[in-house]
C-alpha cells in the first residue's frame, strides 16, 4: 500500500490538451479538449482514496469523489457516471464551469504539497464518455403520483428540481421566458467554454424522463403564480436567476457601444450574433474594447470580444489581482489569448463622438485601503491620476441584481432588503404557500453548483409537501 502510494505520487497532475491561443481566439470552438481514457485513468490513479475525503466537504453537493475516481481508475466509466449522478445531475456542465480551486480541488489533500487532483476534469471525462457512448442508463422513475409541479426558469436550478421531481413520479412542466431553455448556461456562458449541445442534451434527457417544456412564458407577465395554481399545478418552484443588469451610473453610459454584459453575451450566445448575418441579430464589433469587472462574466465578455475581431481587449478592474472573482482557469485562458489587465483602475466617465457613439473612457487609478464589509481591501481613488483611454466598445460586467418582474407581480412573495426572494435555506420555501425558490434569485449571482444544490433541497421539500403536507 505504501509502495503503491509512493508510486502514485510520481504521476504529475495530467494537463488537459487545449486549442492553441492564437487559433482559438479567432473562433468559438471549445477551448479545453477533454481527457482521453488513458489520461483520465492516469490522473485518477493520483487520488489517495482518503478515508475522510476533504474534497467532498468542498463540493456543495457532496459528490462521492473518491468513489467515482476509483471507478475511473478501474476503467469502470459507466459506474463512475452513475456514482456522480446520484448527487449531481449535470456533471458535463459542472466539470467545465465549477470554480474547482475554491471548492472540491481547493480542499483536496494532494494540494497541500503538490497539485490537487483534477476532479473537475475527471468529472467532465466521465460525463462526456457517457454522452458519447449512449448516455448511460436512464435512472428509474417512481410510479406516477398524479401531482403537477410548475418550474419557473430553466437555469441549472430549475433543471435540477425538474430532474429530481420527475424521478419521484411527479408531473413536471418547465416554464421559460426565453425561446430556449438553459438559463445562463445558454444566454451567458459562451460556446467556447460550454458548448450549447451539452446543455441541449441534458435538457433532452429530462424530456425523455417526461419533462414538459413551455418556452416564451414570462411568469409575472404572461401568467401569474395564482393563475398557475388555477391551471392545476400543486406546487411551484421559482428559479428565475438574478437577471437585472447593473450599470456604473457614470456619465455617458447610454452612448452606443456601452453594453451591459447581459446584453452583449445574450446577443453573442443566445442570439448567435457571432454568426451574423447568417443569424439576424447584430452585435457591435469593437476595435478597442474595455470590459469593466473581473469575474467570470467579465472574462467571458472579454474573450468574446477578442473572438469577434477586436484589436485590443482590456479588463478594467478597480481592485487588485488577488480579488479577481473569476475562476483561475478563465483568467489564465484570457491572459493566454492576449487580454490585458488594467488593475486598480476605475472608469469615471464615458466620452462619445458627435454621433453618440462611444469613443473614449476616462479612468482613475486606485490604491488599496482598509478592508471593507466583504473583508477585501477597499479601493480608494488616487487624486490627480485620471487618464483617458481610447475605447469604442465597453462592456459593463460588475454583477447583477434581482429582476423584479416576477416578484413584483405577487405581494405574497416576501423579499429581503436587496430585493431577492426570502426563502428558508433548509427547505427553499417562500412566504407564499405552495411556492419554493432557489438559485440566483435567492442568493444573488453565485455559481451553477450552488443553484443546483438549492434546487435539490427544494425538490426534497416539494416532494414532502406533495406526499405529506406543507
Amino acid at each position: 500500500m505504501t509502495e503503491k502510494q509512493a508510486k502514485k505520487k510520481k504521476i504529475p497532475r495530467q494537463p488537459m490538451s487545449e486549442r492553441a491561443p492564437e487559433v482559438r481566439k479567432l473562433n468559438f470552438d471549445e477551448v479545453p479538449l477533454g481527457y482521453s481514457a488513458g489520461t483520465a485513468m492516469a490522473e485518477a490513479q493520483r487520488c489517495l482514496q482518503c478515508k475522510k475525503p476533504s474534497c467532498v466537504t468542498g463540493c456543495p453537493v457532496q459528490v462521492d469523489i473518491p468513489g467515482f475516481v476509483r471507478q475511473i481508475a478501474d476503467g469502470d466509466y459507466s459506474g463512475a457516471i452513475q456514482t456522480i449522478w446520484t448527487r449531481n445531475s449535470l456533471p458535463a456542465i459542472c466539470g467545465r464551469v465549477c470554480p474547482q480551486e475554491i471548492q472540491c480541488e481547493g480542499e483536496c489533500i494532494l494540494g497541500k504539497k503538490d497539485e490537487p487532483l483534477a476532479i473537475g476534469n475527471l468529472e467532465r471525462f466521465a460525463a462526456d464518455y457517457a454522452m458519447e457512448h449512449g448516455g448511460g442508463e436512464l435512472p428509474e422513475k417512481a410510479a406516477p403520483t398524479g401531482k403537477k409541479v410548475a418550474i419557473v426558469g430553466s437555469g441549472p436550478s430549475g433543471l435540477t428540481v425538474a430532474g429530481d421531481l420527475l424521478l419521484k413520479g411527479h408531473d413536471v412542466t418547465l416554464l421559460e421566458a426565453f425561446h430556449k431553455t438553459g438559463g445562463v448556461l445558454v444566454y451567458g456562458i459562451p460556446e467556447f467554454r460550454l458548448p450549447k449541445d451539452i446543455v441541449a442534451s441534458e435538457v433532452a434527457a429530462l424530456e425523455k424522463l417526461g419533462l414538459r417544456i413551455e418556452v416564451n412564458r414570462v411568469v409575472g407577465r404572461t401568467v401569474s403564480l395564482d393563475e398557475l395554481f388555477e391551471e392545476g399545478y400543486d406546487a411551484i418552484y421559482i428559479g428565475v436567476g438574478a437577471g437585472l443588469p447593473r450599470f456604473l451610473n457614470i456619465a455617458g453610459e447610454n452612448f452606443i457601444g456601452v453594453f451591459s454584459a447581459n446584453e452583449y453575451l445574450t446577443r453573442a450566445n443566445l442570439m448567435k450574433a457571432y454568426l451574423f448575418p447568417k443569424y439576424d441579430t447584430p452585435i457591435i464589433k469593437g476595435k478597442n474594447v474595455a470590459v469593466i469587472g473581473a469575474g467570470n462574466v467579465a472574462m467571458d465578455s472579454a474573450r468574446t470580444a477578442m473572438r469577434l475581431g477586436a484589436e485590443r481587449v482590456r479588463i478594467v478592474y478597480r481592485r487588485s489581482r488577488e480579488e479577481m472573482p473569476a475562476r483561475a482557469a478563465e483568467i489564465h485562458h484570457a491572459e493566454e489569448e492576449g487580454i490585458e489587465f488594467h488593475l486598480l483602475t476605475n472608469p469615471i466617465r464615458f466620452i462619445g463622438d458627435e454621433n453618440g457613439r462611444l469613443a473614449k473612457m476616462e479612468c482613475q487609478q486606485m490604491e488599496l485601503g482598509e478592508p471593507d464589509e466583504s473583508g477585501r481591501r477597499r479601493p480608494v481613488p488616487i487624486e490627480g491620476s485620471e487618464f483617458i483611454m481610447d475605447c469604442d466598445l465597453a462592456v459593463v460586467a460588475v454583477g447583477a441584481g434581482a429582476n423584479p418582474l416576477l416578484t413584483a407581480s405577487d405581494p405574497e412573495i416576501k423579499l429581503n432588503s436587496r430585493g431577492y426572494i426570502a426563502a428558508d435555506p433548509k427547505t427553499g420555501k417562500t412566504t407564499k404557500k405552495g411556492v419554493w425558490a432557489g438559485g440566483d434569485i435567492v442568493t444573488g449571482q453565485a455559481t451553477v453548483i450552488l443553484a443546483m444544490g438549492a434546487g435539490r433541497t427544494a425538490a426534497d421539500s416539494i416532494h414532502d409537501y406533495l406526499t405529506i403536507g406543507w
Binding site: R221, G243, F259, K272, Y279, P282
Partner: protein, 277 residues
C-alpha cells in the same frame, strides 16, 4: 408555433397587418402592451405593439412597417404560415382613466399603436380628438378605425395629397388653441413625438409617448432598451413603453436607434438579393 390566420397589405404594401393565433396572449393583453416575435430559428426578436385582439377567437393583431431585414422576412409570411415564437403581453398597459378631453396624435405606423389606446380612452368615457398624419395619402393607415373611436378626427399629409397639408403639430396647435385638453397621447416617429411634446409642454398638457428602442428579451434583463427620462435611466420594456413625453431625452433615443445602422443595411441588402426583391 403561432399561426397567421389573417393578413392585409396596407399603405401601398409598405405596412402589413397580421392576425396571429395566440390565445394565451389574447386573453391577457391590454392597450399599450406589445409582443416580441421571432420568425424562425435564425431570426431576431422583434417587438411589435398589439394593435387589436379577439379574445374569443384567441387571436392578436400586429401591424408593422417594412423597414429592414426582419420585417421584410415577416412580410414573406402568408396566411397559414407561422411565427416560431411570440412572447407577451409585455410592457405596462396604458393607464386608461376618465380624465376629460384627450388628444391622440399618431404618425405613420404609430397609428397602429395608437388605435387600441384611443379606443380605450373613448370606451372609458373621454372626449377624444384625434390627429393622424402620414407623409403621403398612400401611406396613411387605419383612418376608418381611428374615426370610429374619435369624437373628432383630423387628417394631414406632409405633401397635401390628402387631408390638411402639413405636420400633425400644426393641427395640434390649432386644437390646443381652441380646446383645453387634459391629456395628450403622441405615438409615431421619434422626431414627431419630440415636437408634439415640446408643444404640449408650452400648453401645459400632460403627454404620453410610446417609445420604441431596440430590444432583446423584453423582460428587463439586458438593459438594451434603456432610455433616459427625467435624467434617470429606465428600461422601456418593463418601465414603459409609455413615458411622460416631457421628460424623455429624444436625441439619445434617436442615436441609440442607429446603433446597428451599418449591419442592418448589410442584412437587408443580402436578404433582398437572396429573395430577388
Amino acid at each position: 408555433m403561432f399561426k397567421i390566420v389573417g393578413r392585409e397589405s396596407m399603405a401601398g404594401d409598405t405596412v402589413i397587418l397580421n392576425e396571429i393565433e395566440a390565445p394565451r396572449i389574447a386573453s391577457k393583453a391590454k392597450p399599450g402592451q406589445f409582443v416580441i416575435l421571432k420568425a424562425n430559428e435564425t431570426g431576431e426578436r422583434i417587438p411589435l405593439t398589439i394593435s387589436d385582439l379577439d379574445a374569443n377567437k384567441g387571436t392578436i393583431t400586429v401591424i408593422y412597417m417594412v423597414v429592414g431585414k426582419s420585417t421584410a422576412l415577416f412580410k414573406t409570411l402568408g396566411v397559414g404560415d407561422a411565427y416560431q415564437d411570440v412572447i407577451g403581453p409585455l410592457g405596462k398597459p396604458t393607464d386608461i382613466e376618465k380624465v376629460g378631453r384627450v388628444v391622440c396624435v399618431g404618425g405613420g405606423t404609430g397609428i397602429a399603436v395608437l388605435f387600441p389606446i384611443t379606443r380605450g380612452f373613448k370606451e372609458t368615457g373621454n372626449e377624444v380628438i384625434s390627429i393622424i398624419g402620414a407623409r403621403t395619402k398612400d401611406l396613411l393607415i387605419l383612418e376608418d378605425k381611428m374615426r370610429s373611436v374619435s369624437d373628432e378626427l383630423h387628417v394631414c399629409t406632409d405633401d397635401g395629397s390628402y387631408g390638411r397639408k402639413g405636420f400633425v403639430t400644426e393641427v395640434l396647435k390649432e386644437v390646443l388653441e381652441k380646446n383645453k385638453a387634459d391629456l395628450a397621447v403622441a405615438i409615431g416617429p421619434v422626431p414627431m413625438m419630440k415636437f408634439v411634446s415640446k408643444m404640449t409642454y408650452d400648453y401645459n398638457v400632460k403627454t404620453l409617448v410610446s417609445l420604441n428602442p431596440i430590444m432583446i428579451d423584453g423582460t428587463g434583463m439586458c438593459g438594451c432598451c434603456r432610455v433616459s427620462a427625467g435624467g434617470e435611466t429606465k428600461f422601456a420594456c418593463v418601465d414603459g413603453p409609455e413615458f411622460d413625453g416631457h421628460k424623455v431625452d429624444y436625441d439619445n433615443l434617436m442615436d441609440r436607434l442607429r446603433a446597428y445602422e451599418q449591419q442592418e443595411k448589410q442584412a437587408y441588402d443580402e436578404f433582398c438579393e437572396s429573395e430577388a426583391l
